[in-house]
Each structure stands twice: as structure tokens, then as C-alpha cells.
């Protein structure tokens, strides 16, 4: 049994937002693979809450194109849904790979992409890919709707720009950020399943002839929040794909990273991965294989 005070099942965004606004003790719960675990741990802020279930809000379901051809992912889309979705596979397969690397089947069947992002963890597998795609977070609250770039959404470890009475409704990937790009995500973890990333690296690359037209490199666990290797991205523009150039790009990525020592892995080891993983991801994205 969980130490929960109350439970409210919202069926519309409005219902959820109204409830959140009225009840100071309320807390959103989606798939529960994060919130329930924290409740069981008796983590401060997660005990004796009035939970608001949002999994039955149909407006938050599904994955589709908007009228401009951007991709809209409902915040309660499960990892399994995202992983197998045709739109995702066709346009942004690295996100499919990323969410496919999470946990095991049971966790992927219940965990949501919204929850993955909203809990603010740097290790969230979907987050680095969404960073590489310059995703936009769609939010609805008492004051109405707003949109915020994912880079601004992450404020610090476990902290995101979501007010207590707001609901993340969708994640938007703009067409300009995937059209013409190829991407790949590499999760480095000690186990091949049921693990959190020691380091995650997601790249999006657009070629201009045999040169790099645009490159986006994002990491999880290379800093307190997911980050972009902007220095390396800038340098990479116009480079040809050669081993030497890839080495340079990998090395350059360290400039934006702030990996640290923890009991899970050393800073030096994470730095080695920061160097190595983008090179591999680029090669795989471009069909070079690994």
C-alpha cells in the first residue's frame, strides 16, 4: 500500500488543471513508474499526496502531425507507443531507439514520455534525443497554453519549468528539426536492460554533399541536466566525415560537458564516453554501422 491521501481521475485537461489549481496538495501521476516509487521510498514531497491521474485524458494520447507537418507527441504516450509508432520511426527513429532502451517491456508499457521529461532527470533516455531535436514542450495551466523550448524547460537536477498547477500536454518536434536529418541514440549502461544510462548520447545530422551541413549532439548525464555540445556542433559544420574529424568533434564535445565523479562512474570514464559515443552515433546514423 502506498501512503497516498487521495486520488482523482481526470478525464480532460481542464479537469486536471482545475483540480491542480484548487488542491495545493495535489500531484500529477501518469504511468506511476516514477511517482509511486518515490512514494514508496517516502521521499519528501511524494507522501500523503492527492494524486491526479491523467492517463485517461484522451487529449494527451497519441502521436500525430500538426497542420504544419510538425510532430506532436501526447505527453502520456507510453515508451512502447513511441518506440513502435510509424511517424516516429519514419522521421525521428533515434527517439524510438532512445525510449526502447528504457527499462524492460513492463516499464516501457507504463512509463510515459511526458513523465520521463517532467521529472527532470539528466539520465532520462528520451531527453537527450529531444534536446538534439530542439523539442518544444507544450504546457497548459490556469493561465492558458504556453510553449517552451526543452533547453529552457530543464532548470536543474529534478527541476523543470512546470508550475505545480500546470500540465505538460505535448512534446512538439518541428519539421525543420527533423526533415533531412538522420539521427541516432546510444545509451551506455552497464546492463543491456533495466538500467539507467551511465551516459546517453543522441545526435541529429544533416549532410550537405559529403560535408556536414548541420550537426546536433546532445547528452544525458554529461551535466546536471541534458546538454547540447554546441561548440562541437559549430565546429563540425562544413567538415567531411573522416576519422580525424570525428575525433576532433568528440574531443570538442568535452567543452560543453560537465561530467562529475559519482559512485556510479568516474568523471574520467564519463569523459571518455563523451568523446567516443558521438563519433559512433554519427557513423551509425549515416549508415556506417557499428
Amino acid at each position: 500500500m502506498y501512503q497516498i491521501n487521495g486520488y482523482f481521475e481526470a478525464s480532460t485537461i481542464k479537469e486536471a488543471v482545475d483540480y491542480l489549481k484548487e488542491n495545493e496538495n495535489s500531484q500529477i501521476i501518469a504511468g506511476g513508474s516514477d511517482v509511486l516509487i518515490k512514494t514508496r521510498e517516502r521521499k519528501s514531497g511524494y507522501v500523503d499526496k492527492d494524486l491526479v491521474g491523467i492517463m485517461r485524458i484522451t487529449e494527451l494520447h497519441g502521436i500525430s502531425y500538426d497542420e504544419s507537418g510538425n510532430i506532436l507527441i501526447g505527453s502520456t504516450a507510453t515508451f512502447t507507443e513511441v518506440e513502435k509508432n510509424e511517424i516516429i520511426l519514419k522521421n525521428i527513429s533515434s527517439l524510438s531507439t532512445a525510449v526502447g532502451s528504457i527499462g524492460g517491456p513492463q516499464i516501457r508499457n507504463i512509463g510515459t514520455i511526458g513523465g520521463n521529461v517532467a521529472n527532470g532527470a539528466t539520465s532520462a533516455d528520451s531527453a537527450s534525443s529531444l534536446f538534439a531535436m530542439d523539442a518544444i514542450i507544450l504546457i497548459e495551466g490556469p493561465a492558458g497554453k504556453r510553449e517552451i523550448p526543452i533547453k529552457e524547460f530543464y532548470l536543474g537536477p529534478g527541476k523543470v519549468a512546470l508550475n505545480r498547477d500546470e500540465l505538460m500536454t505535448h512534446i512538439k518536434i518541428e519539421k525543420k528539426n527533423f526533415e533531412g536529418y538522420k539521427g541516432h541514440y546510444i545509451k551506455f549502461s552497464q546492463r543491456k536492460a533495466m538500467d539507467i544510462a551511465t551516459l546517453g548520447c543522441s545526435i541529429m545530422v544533416k549532410m550537405d554533399g559529403n560535408k556536414i551541413g548541420d550537426l546536433k549532439i546532445a547528452y544525458g548525464v554529461a551535466g546536471p541536466t541534458p546538454i547540447r555540445a554546441t561548440e562541437a556542433e559549430l565546429m563540425a559544420k562544413g567538415m567531411e566525415i573522416t576519422t580525424e574529424n570525428l575525433d576532433k568533434i568528440g574531443e570538442k564535445c568535452l567543452e560543453n560537458a560537465s561530467a562529475r565523479d559519482s559512485w556510479r562512474a568516474s568523471k574520467a570514464f564519463r569523459q571518455q564516453l563523451i568523446r567516443e559515443l558521438p563519433k559512433r552515433a554519427i557513423k551509425i546514423a549515416l549508415g556506417g554501422g557499428e
Binding site: M1, Y2, Q3, I4, N5, G6, Y7, E9, I29, G32, S33, L36, I37, R40, L51, G53, M55, T80, G103, G104, P105, Q106, I107, N109, I110, K192, A193, M194
Partner: protein
């Protein structure tokens, strides 16, 4: 706080009064005495409590009982045929020696059932991945994988 839910469990329609603090696992084990579903970690890391919800394998320890409202749930007791005979997956678990202490077994059978529904002809790698949310410390997984692989083959031959 109690809440009334309606769901189908192992083919039976049920109306249940559940405590909102209950997990589905609590509900199945303590309320309905369906003790074939086990608890190994309480946080979705071992899969011993896996059940089918609308055909998908899910860990019932981190699934609120109230969420079962309107759902169709199948536990290990429901995978076993009504006359007590074994499903083909269960049969192969027995036949291939996939059972040792047996504590993880119901969860594995549940996940394997969902896996073969979704992928009737899985590769060995797909079986490994499909069962990767279930931990076993006795078998090294070898004979469990054999059991699932054999079931897929046998189903293929029947067609």
C-alpha cells in the same frame, strides 16, 4: 478512501471496492487471493508481479488498483486453462526444465505470453529483450529462453 471499480479478471466481470492506496498487486493477492502473482521488489525492477492488462505485460506492484477500472486483467491463474491444463508456454516451461525455485516463473510466463502474442516468430534476441523486465537468479535464463523459443516453433508448425 475507497473507490468502486469494475474490471474483468481472468475472464470474470467483477465489481470491487478498493482502497485508493492499494497497488494492483495488493488487490490481486490480498483481496482476491490470486497469490500466483509474486512480489520481488515492489518497484518494477524484477517482474515477479507481472500481469496482463489489456494484453500488455505490466508490473502490478507499481500499478494502482484504481487504474484497473475498465480493464481486462489476466494473471497466471488465468493463463492456466479452465480445466487446469497448461498453456503451451507453461507446458514448455515444465518440459524444458525452466523452473527451479519457481518464484519468478509466473511473471516470466505472463511476459512470454504477451511477447508471443505480439511477435509470433521472435528471434532469440527478441525473446531476450521481451523477457528482459523479468529477473531470474536460478536458471541463467537459458532454459526459459528455450521454452519460449520452442513454443514459437511449435505454434508455427501447427499452422
Amino acid at each position: 478512501m475507497l473507490k468502486t471499480i469494475n474490471c474483468k479478471i481472468n475472464g470474470r466481470d467483477m465489481e470491487l471496492q478498493v482502497d485508493i492506496r492499494e497497488s494492483l498487486l495488493d488487490m490481486l493477492r490480498d483481496r482476491l487471493h490470486l497469490t500466483g502473482t509474486k512480489q520481488g521488489c515492489g518497484v518494477g525492477e524484477c517482474g515477479a508481479c507481472a500481469v496482463l492488462i489489456d494484453g500488455q505485460t505490466l508490473d502490478s506492484c507499481i500499478y494502482m488498483a484504481v487504474w484497473a477500472d475498465g480493464k481486462e486483467i489476466v494473471t497466471i491463474e488465468g493463463i492456466t486453462n479452465d480445466d487446469g491444463s497448461l498453456s503451451d508456454i507453461q507446458h514448455n516451461f515444465v518440459d524444458k526444465g525452466a523452473i527451479q525455485c519457481g518464484f519468478c516463473t509466473p511473471g516470466f510466463v505472463v511476459s512470454a505470453t504477451a511477447l508471443l502474442e505480439e511477435k509470433p516468430n521472435p528471434t532469440k534476441a527478441e525473446i531476450r529483450r521481451g523477457l528482459s523486465g523479468n529477473l531470474c537468479r536460478c536458471t541463467g535464463y537459458t532454459k526459459i529462453l528455450d521454452a519460449v523459443e520452442s513454443t514459437a516453433e511449435q505454434r508455427g508448425n501447427k499452422k
